[in-house]
């Protein structure tokens, strides 16, 4: 398949870009932050997003969705990255929708997927426990009790966890931390007894929570996929999430780079536009090339996910690792080349730096993914 967008995908990009840049430019995020908005995103906007078919983009048509693929989800994520719009799209429409579509039984799918598609249900995957993303280290305990389980443990960086109507919780039902065997995914109602949600205000003014589970009772119908065999499902869902975050970072990198190049063409020092200085020209050129290469790697990964999620791991590792280093470089150069203005809160550039840092940690940073690639290649 050609590594360029098809006509339909370009149209999708244009409509997402039109909507997002119009209704949710960076000032939208700034307003939510400054007003200490309790939701942290615009519910009205999410409804119109759903009406345009974006909320159910990955959901099969039989459950009210658009039935599109990861390439399309990446197209939307990239547009979200351009304006840093806080939105349930990543947690609900990409990660949770993929988990339910790929792992859910008939009842689970028909219970939840139509509500995701129409924008009425927010869902979130609770995976990380320690400071770094280490899925196999999952140690939240699932102990058999009666016909179900009791869950005990704590999760961090649960994206949108403070407003989620449904939690998808990775737990250890057998074995010990570090093992692939013995992982199970559970669907948990956050209003259930024993669940304590603490909204965490993050550096990027996006939305996340720490969640504690204290002997939370779930019945057997709450298991998503198979007991003890959740690692495979989790791998695929996380890879889709990683590809989506990498796409967001491509959009973020491009936008911060565009702002920086514009600044090089306007700012004068020593009687010259600073963009005339070769030292800055070459750094800008290197960054441009970095972004183009990363864009291709991310597109490759999204196509690989659409072709076969189970075979996309290496392409996704390359994409997420590259997107992380590229976005980090883009925001650092962005602030540096804007000089003192780049350090001010009044200027938007800092928002990009903060979001890039969170995206880098989400679902594994560049080192994590380079490590995965090294293992896959046998050295």
């Amino acid at each position: 398949m050609a590594l360029v967008l098809t006509e339909e995908q370009s149209m999708l990009r244009d409509s997402a870009r039109g909507l997002i840049s119009d209704k949710a430019p960076v000032s939208h995020l700034r307003h939510l932050r400054d007003s200490k908005d309790p939701t942290g995103f615009s519910k009205e906007f999410w409804q119109s997003f759903a009406e345009m078919g974006f909320a159910g983009l990955l959901v099969p048509e039989e459950f009210g969705g658009s039935g599109l693929g990861c390439v399309e989800a990446g197209v939307v994520m990239e547009e979200i990255g351009r304006t840093l719009m806080p939105s349930p799209f990543l947690a609900t429409s990409v990660v949770a929708a993929s988990a339910l579509t790929r792992g859910g039984n008939a009842a689970q799918k028909s219970d939840y997927l139509p509500k995701i598609s129409n924008g009425s249900l927010l869902a979130s995957l609770a995976i990380d426990e320690g400071a770094k993303h280490r899925p196999l280290q999952t140690n939240l305990q699932a102990v058999r009790a009666g016909n179900g389980f009791k869950l005990s443990g704590a999760k961090a960086l649960v994206v949108d966890g403070h407003v989620a109507d449904l939690l998808i919780v990775a737990a250890r039902s057998a074995g010990s931390a570090g093992e692939r065997e013995g992982l199970t995914l559970f669907l948990v109602n956050p209003a259930a007894k024993g669940v304590a949600v603490e909204r965490t205000i993050m550096v990027d003014a996006h939305n996340a929570a720490r969640i504690e589970f204290n002997n939370v009772e779930v019945n057997a119908d709450s298991v998503l996929g198979e007991v003890d065999q959740g690692a495979g499902l989790l791998d695929g869902v996380l890879d889709i999430g990683r590809g989506a975050v990498a796409s967001e970072m491509v959009g973020l990198s491009e936008d911060v780079f565009g702002r920086t190049v514009e600044y090089l063409k306007q700012r004068k020092q020593f009687g010259k536009l600073i963009g005339e200085f070769q030292a800055l020209q070459h750094r800008a050129a290197e960054l441009y090339v970095d972004i183009e290469i990363t864009r291709a790697a991310v597109m490759k990964a999204m196509q690989a996910l659409d072709a076969d999620v189970a075979k996309a791991a290496s392409a996704v590792a390359v994409a997420k690792a590259r997107a992380g280093t590229t976005a980090t470089r883009a925001v650092q150069e962005g602030v540096q080349m804007h000089g003192g203005m780049g350090m001010t809160d009044q200027f938007d550039i800092g928002f990009f730096m903060k979001r890039a840092r969170v995206c880098e940690e989400l679902f594994g940073d560049a080192n994590y993914h380079a490590e995965q690639l090294a293992r896959a290649r046998g050295y």
Partner: protein, 404 residues
């Protein structure tokens, strides 16, 4: 679900082509030609004095030539395979999958051919392209001069009009394999009074012409892939000019884009063993099977990330070009990154090889193959336009930054 714009029937035809191609390659490519060449002597360049280094090399070349697949996407009338862009991509992918070598390496294929297809007269195409495709004539490139390197357009080799001929006098340098080449495509100054980009012509002539001589240059690698090339009143018919007289810079630039794409390809090589495993040969692994040098392992992993990403970008560049969305200066971006990456690769290989990679003359080291290759890569970011020139082109032509 898929979202390809390719109609189903076309997709089915392409699938048939893929299956047939795979079967044909499987039957036709000798096992010896399914691993990378280990030295330059192992690469087939064609030409009047060409010799095959092995029987499998000859067989592979002739089979591919007979299908027109030395130049799969050139029109059949000029000796090519007449493949569509999509078919060509399939062929490349299938060849890469089995590690099949290119049957013929040639500056005629990579550089002159595309320029002739765009700027050549019908007579020039008919005369030269089939001989390139069949490996009958080996070409070299007369661009750089002692005082015209990065500033190529300041070249001074003169071509004076004399009736139906030009008479050429001057000197070129860094002429790759000029001592083995049969013909040269050459930039000469046909109007010394014009501004520097405006008085240049692009001309073709036989290296056996009276007045042409070459002298190999010994490099730090101990090899001499480049020559100094001298022209002393070489007489060339005016009909050998490609494009318009004094407009040779257009042709030169177009050709440079292909040259840069070719050199950038040196950074991506999907086939062969992973670099980390090559390093493990000398360094060993720990109990978990990880390379027993954690810092080097990290360097290799980040190299592998960048290499895989570059390969995706090279694929995308081709697709963008086909879709008519490519920026004409993008090959400069690829040239910069690909060559820097290749240098990184060889720094890692030298580090991985340790003491073993320092031997210069021994059977054991295949006459110092690795250190010589390492030193050779240092030219990658100089030849065909330096990294600094490439970044300047990206800054000005793609980013539209101000100044000079």
């Amino acid at each position: 679900m898929t979202h390809s714009t390719t109609p189903d029937s076309e997709a089915a035809e392409l699938e048939t082509f893929r299956n047939e191609t795979r079967a044909w390659l499987e039957a036709s490519c000798p096992p010896e030609m399914r691993r990378p060449a280990t030295s330059d002597a192992d690469v087939f360049w064609g030409g009047r004095n060409a010799k095959f280094s092995s029987e499998p090399q000859r067989v592979w070349f002739e089979r591919m030539r007979d299908k027109g697949w030395t130049v799969p996407d050139w029109p059949k009338e000029y000796g090519g395979g007449g493949l569509s862009a999509a078919e060509h991509k399939v062929l490349r992918a299938e060849m890469a999958k089995m590690g099949a070598r290119p049957p013929l390496s040639s500056f005629g294929i990579w550089m002159l051919g595309p320029a002739l297809l765009k700027y050549g007269t019908e007579a020039q195409k008919k005369e030269h392209l089939p001989k390139i495709a069949a490996g009958l004539i080996r070409w070299c490139q007369g661009y750089s001069e002692p005082n015209a390197g990065s500033d190529l357009a300041s070249l001074q080799t003169r071509a004076e009009s004399d009736g139906d001929d030009f008479v050429i006098t001057g000197q070129k340098i860094w002429t790759s394999y000029a001592n083995y080449a049969d013909w040269i495509f050459c930039l000469v100054r046909t109007d010394p009074a014009a501004k520097k980009h405006d008085g240049i012509s692009f001309i073709l002539f036989d290296m056996t012409s009276k007045g042409v001589s070459t002298k190999p240059i010994l490099l730090i690698s101990g090899y001499s892939p480049f020559c100094e090339t001298f022209f002393d009143n070489v007489r060339v018919p005016k009909s050998h000019v490609v494009g318009t007289v004094n407009r040779g810079w257009d042709v030169a630039k177009y050709l440079l884009q292909h040259e840069r794409a070719m050199i950038s390809g040196m950074g991506e090589r999907g086939v062969g063993r992973p670099l980390g495993q090559i390093a493990a040969d000398t360094i060993g692994t720990d109990a978990q099977g990880k390379l027993d040098d954690a810092m080097l392992r990290g360097q290799i992993a980040s190299f592998d990330v960048d290499e895989a990403a570059l390969a995706a970008c090279a694929e995308r560049a081709v697709d963008l070009a086909k879709a008519g969305q490519a920026h004409p200066a993008f090959s400069s971006a690829m040239k910069y990154y690909g060559t820097e990456l290749n240098k990184r690769r060889y720094e890692i290989l030298m580090s991985a090889g340790g003491v073993d990679a320092l031997e210069w003359e021994s059977e054991r080291s295949r006459q110092g193959a690795r250190p010589r290759a390492w030193l050779r890569t240092k030219a990658n970011s100089i030849e065909g336009g330096t990294t600094e020139v490439m970044l300047g082109i990206v800054a000005k032509r793609i980013l539209d930054l101000p100044g000079a």
